[in-house]
C-alpha cells in the first residue's frame, strides 16, 4: 500500500500574530512553526496502516518554502519513508485551488492507494484543498475521519456531522482527511530522528497558478470597547441578566 500524506507547516497555535511590514503577511520573527496539528493525525494514521499491513510506503508531500523541511523531517522521524517538497513562494495563504492543482499534479505521478491529510490547515483556514484534490484526481473524499478502517479496498470512516454521527464509505484510492481523535500521534524516538536525516527528501520547484484572487490587506480583529466588571459574587447574576436583556439585547 502506497500512502501519500499531505502536510503543511503552520505557525503554532500559541502564536501571537504580528502583521508584517508589507501589510499582507505575518511577521515571521518569533513565530514557532510546527506541523499542522490535523496533519499529524494523518501521518500517524498512515504509519498505523502501513504497520498493520506489514508492508507499504508512506510519502510526505508538502507545498511550501524551503523552510518547511523540518516539518517533513519530523514526519519522517515518526516513520514516513520519504518526502517531496514542492517549493513555492508565498504558499502559506495562496489560492486553495492553485495549491490543490500543484499537489494533484504531483500525486498523479505517484500511483498512490490512499491520500491522507488533515481536515483543515490552521493558518489559512481555507477548508477546501482536500475536497478539491478529490475532484482533480477523480477520487472520492471522506472528510473528517474519527476512525478509519480499510478492508478489501473499501475505506470506512466514522465522522461527526452537525447534530449527529455518520458512517461513510468509499472505494480506494480515495482522499481521507483526519479529525482530532483519529489517533494519538507518536513522538519521534531518537532512533527515528537519526534515521530521518538519511531518508530521501526531494525538492521540486513549482510555480503556483495565479488563481483568481488578490490579497489586498491583512488586518487585526476590531478592538472591542473596554468591558465592565459587573460584580464579584453571585449577587451580580441578576444585574448581569438585566444588562444582557436591556443593554446588550442578546437574550
Amino acid at each position: 500500500m502506497k500512502i501519500v500524506v499531505c502536510v503543511k507547516q503552520v505557525p503554532d497555535t500559541e502564536t501571537k500574530v504580528v502583521i508584517g511590514g508589507d501589510g499582507l503577511s505575518i511577521e515571521p520573527t518569533d513565530v514557532k512553526y510546527v506541523m499542522n496539528p490535523y496533519d499529524e493525525y494523518a501521518v500517524e494514521e498512515a504509519l498505523k496502516l502501513k504497520e498493520a499491513a506489514g508492508e507499504g510506503e508512506v510519502i510526505v508531500l508538502t507545498l511550501g518554502s524551503e523552510d518547511a523541511q523540518p516539518v517533513m523531517r519530523t514526519a519522517m522521524a515518526m516513520g514516513a519513508d520519504s518526502g517531496i517538497l514542492l517549493k513555492a513562494e508565498n504558499a502559506a495563504l495562496a489560492d486553495g485551488l492553485a495549491v490543490a492543482k500543484a499537489l494533484a499534479s504531483e500525486i498523479k505521478t505517484l500511483d498512490a492507494d490512499l491520500i491522507l491529510t488533515g481536515k483543515i490547515a490552521i493558518d489559512g483556514y481555507g477548508h477546501q484543498v482536500a475536497s478539491m484534490l478529490g475532484e482533480l484526481l477523480d477520487m472520492p473524499v471522506l472528510p473528517t475521519a474519527k476512525t478509519l478502517e480499510i478492508v478489501d479496498g473499501v475505506a470506512t470512516i466514522h465522522r461527526d456531522i452537525e447534530g449527529g454521527k455518520e458512517t461513510v464509505q468509499a472505494n480506494t484510492p480515495c482522499v481521507i482527511t483526519a479529525e482530532k481523535g483519529l489517533n494519538d500521534p507518536r513522538y519521534p524516538a531518537l532512533k527515528g530522528i537519526m534515521q530521518a536525516k538519511r531518508k530521501p527528501l526531494e525538492i521540486k520547484d513549482v510555480v503556483l497558478d495565479a488563481g483568481g484572487i488578490e490579497i489586498l490587506e491583512m488586518s487585526y480583529p476590531a478592538r472591542k470597547p473596554e468591558g465592565r466588571i459587573v460584580g464579584e459574587g453571585p449577587e451580580a447574576a441578576a444585574e448581569l441578566v438585566k444588562l444582557l436583556r436591556d443593554e446588550a439585547q442578546v437574550i
Binding site: T13, P140, G163, G212, M218, G227, I229, G233, V241, K242
Partner: protein, 324 residues
Amino acid sequence: MSNILVFAEQRDGQLKSYALEAISEGRCLADGAGGTLSVCVIGAGITDLGATIGSYGADKILMADDAGLAVYSPGGYAKLLSDALSSSSAEVVLLSSSAMGRELGAILAAKADASLLSDVVETTWDGDHLVVKRPIYAGKAFLRVAAKKAPVLVTLRPNVFAAEEKSGAGSVENMAVALGDADAQVTVAETVMKASTRPELTEASIIVSGGRGMGGPDNFNIVEELADTLGAAVGASRATVDAGWRPHADQVGQTGKTVSPNLYIACGISGAIQHLAGMNSSKCIVAINTDPEAPIFKVANYGIVADLFDVVPALNAAAKELLA
C-alpha cells in the same frame, strides 16, 4: 452587471437559518450589481421551500427535487449545483460555511476552475470586483481579498449576515435530475442523530462554554442547565476536551470551531490565545472567572469575578425568572 447564485442548504425539508442569511446577502449583492439572484435548493419533497426562498428575495429558484436526493451526496449535489451555475450564468456563488457548504464549494470550485473564499464575514463591491473580508489563523487576523476572476465562490460564516424577508416571490424552475453511479462515489452507510435538542455550536445564537475551571466532567451539568434556559449550545475549551471531559465536537478555538454567536458566556475559561481566536468575534462576551487577571476579561463585554459554581446557578435562576 453581475448575477448571483446562492446554494440554500436544507436538511429534512427545513431551510437552515444560514441559508436564509445567504439568500439575503445574495439579494444585497445582486442589487449592488444590478444583477439577478438565483437560488439553488436540492433535496427530496422540498417544493414548499420555493415560497420561502422567494420571500427572502430570490428572482429565480432552481429546484432539484428528487427522491434520489433525500440523502446528501457530495458528487450528486455538486453536479446539480454546477448545472445551476451554468444556467444562471452567475459570477458570484454564495454558500454557507457549514460542513455541506464548504465541501460543495470546494468541489464546485475545482469543477469550474474558480477560486473559493471561505468563512467570509463581509462582502462589498469595488467596481466590478467582489471584495470580501475573511478570518485567517482562526480569527487572529483578517484578510481583505479581491476576486479578480469570475466566477468566484464564497462561503459565508453563519450568524454574521442578517436574514431579511422581502415582499415578492421568485419564479420556480425545476431542474433536470439525472444522477449516475459516478456521482455517488461516497456512500453514507449510517446516520445517527443525537437526541439533543440544543442548537448546533456553529449555528447557535447563544453559547455557554466551560473551561478548566469546571473542575471535572460531571460539573458541566450547571453549564448545560444554563444553556437550556437560554436555548443555547454548549461549548468547551481545548483543556477540557484534551482531558476527556467534553467531546471534540464541542471545542471552540483554533483547533476546534470558530464561532460568532450573539452571546458567548465563558465559564471558568482563562482565555488562551487559541481559544480567544475562535470566539472573539462573538457580539457580546460574558466572562465568569475567579482570576481577575485572566485574559478572557480583556475581550469580555461583561465580567463577574467570582466562583463559577456560585455564579452559574445564580445566573440560571435569574435568567429563568426574567424569561418566564
